[in-house]
Amino acid sequence: MMVSVTSSPAPSEEALATIHRSFMTSPFNRLVGIEFGGYHEDGVSLRLPVGTEHQNGAGVVHGGVILTLADAALGFGIARTVGNRCTTAELKINYLRPVVEGVLEARSHIIRAGRKLVVARAEVHCGAKQVAEVLTTFAVLD
């Protein structure tokens, strides 16, 4: 998908390093156990090795954990593209399958980056199986 950026020029290497550090050292992301997966053309991928601490009372991964991973991959990918501070304005998630164990991977894809709003989607996989699909709007703050 072509990424259209109208808000600002591409961030500098230094800005990218700051964004990377900011996401990977964020207290909540660290608490959950989120790891860097890699960059791709229109987003980033983040990984989460599933542990018992991520389970709900039914013994499967809590939906909030999957949403947190997807939101982090979306925010990281969007910040990397627009170079501004941004925040989730709204997010819709479809849970496709329950997850018991393995490594979750969220891949974000920017659909359109405007001056004030960015629309993006993310897919969360566990191995070869897709476990969630996400469509979101982020607000660009400055």
Binding site: M1, M2, K92, N94, L96, R97, I111, R112, V119, R121, Q130, E133, L135, T137
Partner: protein, 97 residues
């Protein structure tokens, strides 16, 4: 699914009414899901992000099934007008009967 934009599809601002874009996407989703399941189904919920206003041309909605369950089907659709991506849709359909 395609729709050639005509004047009756426009709103007071002179661009295609959001309901038109939504209807086209919903039709492409319903058709695609019916084709995949062979069973009657109906929209349970739909979210749409409008990306660009459209004043004319031909709208094309392309649906893709994300996951087909025994009762629910999750699918997404992209609506384009020429090279311009004008809407992104994520929907849940329920299989009837």
């Amino acid at each position: 699914m395609r729709l050639a934009v005509r004047e009756e599809h426009l709103n007071a601002a002179g661009v295609v009414h959001g309901g038109v874009t939504f209807t086209l996407a919903d039709s492409a989703l319903g058709y695609g899901i019916f084709k995949a399941t062979g069973r009657p189904c109906t929209t349970a919920e739909t979210k749409i992000n409008y990306l660009k206003p459209v004043a004319g041309g031909v709208l094309i909605a392309r649906s893709r099934i994300v996951r087909k369950g025994s009762r629910l089907v999750v699918a997404r659709a992209e609506v384009h007008c020429g090279d311009v991506h004008v809407a992104e849709v994520l929907s849940t359909f329920v299989i009837l009967g």
